[in-house]
C-alpha cells in the first residue's frame, strides 16, 4: 500500500538515518532504518540488525518497537508487529531484533535484505527496572522470551549487577542468546526438554538454590506462562520481587486504542492494563494466570 495509498511526500515524514533529528526531545518516533543484516540464528529464529537514527537508540531493555513488516506474498500487512529490542549499540548506531518466523508479519520481516529500508516506530512502553539495591538477579527465559531478556543482561552489566541466566528450550541446540549472556559475564544455566532439565521441578530446585545462596535479589522472566507461575509462587514465598515482560496483540502501541489489554490483580482487585503503555514489563505478583 505504501505509495499508492500514501502521497509522495507522506513517506518523508518519519525520521531517517543520517538526517538531523527534527524532534530530539520526543521520547519516541517513526524511523526509517537501514537493514544491515538479517540472518538465521536457527531453524526458527532470525536476527535483524538495523542502522537507526540516534533517537531510536534511547530504547531500554524491555521496551519494544512497532514494526511495519514488508509483505510476504504481495498483499498488505495491515498492522505493525511489536518486537522487543534485543541489543542496542549506541556507539555504532545499531539496533537488533531477534524474532521467530511465525505468521505473515514475521515472514515478511524475514525477507529483509541488507540495504533495504525498514520502518519502525518506538521505543514504546515501560522497560525493566533495576533497583540500585539489587546486586544479583535471576533471569529465566524460554523461546522468544530470551529476545526480550537479553538486553537486561546488558543493562545489568552496565550497572555492575550480577546475572544468573536460566535459558530454557525444547532442545540443547535451540538454546538461544547463550553467547550474549556469556559475553556479558552472566552465569548461564541451560535447560531443555530433551533431557527434562527444563521441567518445572528442576527449574524450581535451581531457583530455590539461588535464593538460598543469596544470588536472587530479583526475578525476571519472559516467554513461558509456566515459568512465570513458578517465579510468582517462589517470589511470593521468599519475598523476591520480580518483573515479567508480557505480550498481547497490538494496534497503536502508544496507549490509545485499548486493544492490548490484559488482566492484572492489584490489591485484590482485578483490573485491565495496556501491555503497550503500562507494560510490557509488569510486577510478577500482579499477573493473573489462566
Amino acid at each position: 500500500m505504501t505509495d499508492f495509498v500514501s502521497a509522495s511526500k507522506y513517506a518523508a515524514s518519519p525520521d531517517r538515518v543520517g538526517e538531523p533529528d527534527r524532534h530530539p526531545d520526543r521520547p519516541a518516533g517513526e524511523f526509517i532504518c537501514n537493514v544491515l543484516s538479517n540472518e538465521w540464528v536457527n531453524g526458527e529464529y532470525k536476527l535483524l540488525a538495523l542502522e537507526t537514527p540516534p533517537r531510536a537508540l534511547n530504547a531500554r531493555a524491555g521496551q519494544f518497537f512497532h514494526l511495519l513488516c514488508p509483505t510476504p506474498d504481495g498483499a498488505e500487512v495491515w498492522m505493525r508487529r511489536p518486537m522487543s529490542v534485543y541489543r542496542i549499540d549506541k556507539d555504532a548506531g545499531h539496533l537488533q531484533f531477534l524474532y521467530k518466523c511465525e505468521g505473515r508479519g514475521t515472514q515478511g520481516m524475514a525477507l529483509l535484505e541488507p540495504g533495504d529500508e525498514f520502518n519502525i516506530a518506538g521505543p514504546f512502553g515501560i522497560g525493566f527496572h533495576l533497583d540500585p539495591a539489587w546486586k544479583n538477579i535471576v533471569v529465566l527465559g524460554r523461546g522468544v522470551g530470551l529476545a526480550t531478556l537479553a538486553p537486561l543482561a546488558q543493562m545489568a552489566a552496565e550497572n555492575g549487577v550480577h546475572v544468573t541466566a536460566i535459558l530454557s528450550a525444547r532442545s540443547a541446540e535451540l538454546v538461544m542468546s547463550r553467547d550474549m549472556f556469556d559475553e556479558l559475564g552472566a552465569d548461564v544455566i541451560a535447560v531443555n526438554d530433551t533431557d527434562h532439565s527444563s521441567d518445572v521441578d528442576n527449574v524450581e530446585a535451581i531457583l530455590e538454590k539461588l535464593i538460598a545462596d543469596g544470588r536472587a535479589d530479583a526475578f525476571f522472566t519472559c516467554g513461558s506462562n509456566r515459568l512465570l507461575d513458578l517465579m510468582k509462587r517462589l517470589g511470593k514465598a521468599h519475598g523476591v520481587p520480580g518483573q515479567v515482560a508480557m505480550e498481547q496483540i497490538m494496534a497503536c502501541g502508544l496507549g490509545a486504542c485499548y486493544i492490548c489489554v490484559r488482566t492484572f490483580e492489584v490489591n485484590g482487585e482485578k483490573i485491565l492494563r495496556r501491555v503497550c503503555r503500562e507494560g510490557p514489563v509488569f510486577d510478577i505478583q500482579e499477573t493473573v494466570g489462566w
Partner: protein, 315 residues
C-alpha cells in the same frame, strides 16, 4: 501559501485534519506535535467505568482489521479530573465523545461535560461494538432524533453527531440529527463485521462481532458524505479510510468540511501531521488559496451524459 483553516459552525480549526475518536489519545504526543492538528478528539467516554469487551480485540482481515473494544474507560468523573487536563496541555479544540444506551444518560453526560475546556460534544450514537446485536441509535431516524434532541437540550456546547455506516438510509438519519439540533454530522463509525477462523471454527474476536476498519471502505463512506452533504445545511466531517492528502481532498470535494483519521495513525504514527504537510503542498501546487474552496467542489452538474455518447469517447 494556502490557508488551511476551516470552521465547523463556531469551532475554528487550524486545518481540516482531526484524529478519529478511539484511535487517538494525548499519548500520541510521544511521536507527533499535537498542536498541529485541527482538533483533539478524545476516546468515547461512558458515565460509569467499563471494562470493555473480551480479548482478542483485533484481528487482521484481507484488507484491514476488525476490532471490538467495547468502550472501556474509567467513567466521566475520572475523565474530567484526569483526561481533560491532559488534552488541555495542547491548543487545538477538544472534542469530547460520549456514549450511552439511554437517552437520559446521554443527556446527563452532555450536561456534565459542558465545562470550560471542552469545546465540542460529539455523541457517539453509532458504536457497533457496544453490544453484540450492533444496534444503536443511529440505525433509525426516530431514535436519532430522540436522542440528539435530548442531548441538545442538555448542553450549549457545539454538538456533533457521529452516524453509522450500517444504517440503510443515512440521509434520513442525518436529516433527523440536523432537525434535532446537531451542529455537525460525523460520518461514519465502523462497519459491523465478523471473521471466523477456519482453523478452529471460532470467531476471531472475543466479542464475536467487530467493526471493520480499512482504506477499502472509503468509497462507501464517501458516497454517504456526498449524499448527506447535498441534503443538510450543517457541516459534515468525513471519517473512513483516509490515509493520504488526496483522501482529504476527495472527502472535501464530496462536501465534507473536515476529516477524521483512525487506521492511518496505527499504520504510521506520524500520518496525521504528514497528511497536513501534504495537503498544504497539494493545495499550493494547484494555486488553491483557501482549503475551504474544496468543500463540495465536485463537478457533477453535467453528469447526465447519455450512454452512447459516453461510450463513443473510449478511454
Amino acid at each position: 501559501m494556502v490557508d488551511l483553516s476551516v470552521k465547523i459552525g463556531d469551532v475554528e480549526m487550524a486545518n481540516p485534519v482531526t484524529p478519529a475518536s478511539g484511535a487517538f489519545s494525548w499519548e500520541y504526543a510521544d511521536v507527533i506535535d499535537l498542536n498541529r492538528l485541527g482538533g483533539l478528539v478524545a476516546k468515547t467516554i461512558c458515565k460509569e467505568p467499563r471494562l470493555g469487551n473480551p480479548t482478542p480485540r483485533m484481528a487482521e482481515t484481507e484488507a484491514g482489521i476488525i476490532q471490538s473494544i467495547g468502550l472501556p474507560g474509567k467513567g466521566i468523573e475520572y475523565f474530567i479530573d484526569h483526561i481533560v487536563p491532559e488534552y488541555k496541555k495542547f491548543t487545538p479544540p477538544l472534542i469530547v465523545s460520549v456514549s450511552s444506551e439511554s437517552t437520559e444518560e446521554f443527556a446527563e453526560l452532555a450536561r456534565d461535560l459542558s465545562i470550560p475546556g471542552v469545546d465540542v460534544i460529539e455523541c457517539n450514537i453509532s458504536c457497533p461494538t457496544r453490544n453484540t446485536t450492533g444496534g444503536n441509535f443511529a440505525m433509525q431516524s426516530e431514535h436519532t432524533k430522540e436522542v440528539v434532541s435530548a442531548i441538545r437540550a442538555a448542553t450549549d456546547k457545539p454538538l456533533w453527531a457521529k452516524l453509522s455506516p450500517n444504517a440503510g438510509d443515512i440521509v434520513s438519519i442525518a436529516m433527523a440529527a440536523e432537525e434535532a439540533g446537531a451542529d455537525c454530522l460525523v460520518i461514519a463509525n465502523t462497519f459491523l463485521s465478523l471473521k471466523i477462523r477456519t482453523d478452529n471454527f471460532r470467531p476471531a474476536l472475543g466479542n464475536k462481532f467487530g467493526g471493520l476498519v480499512s482504506p477499502a471502505l472509503k468509497p462507501i463512506v464517501l458516497r454517504m458524505v456526498y449524499q448527506v452533504a447535498k441534503q443538510v445545511s450543517i457541516p459534515v466531517i468525513g471519517i473512513g479510510g483516509v490515509t493520504k492528502a488526496e483522501d482529504v481532498v476527495e472527502y472535501m470535494l464530496a462536501g465534507a468540511s473536515a476529516v477524521g483519521i483512525g487506521y492511518a495513525g496505527f499504520r504510521n504514527p506520524t500520518a496525521l501531521t504528514a497528511i497536513i504537510d501534504d495537503l498544504e503542498a497539494w493545495c499550493d501546487d494547484r494555486g488553491i488559496k483557501k482549503v475551504t474552496e474544496l468543500i463540495g467542489a465536485i463537478k457533477d452538474d453535467d453528469m447526465e451524459m447519455d450512454t452512447l455518447t459516453a461510450a463513443s469517447s473510449g478511454v
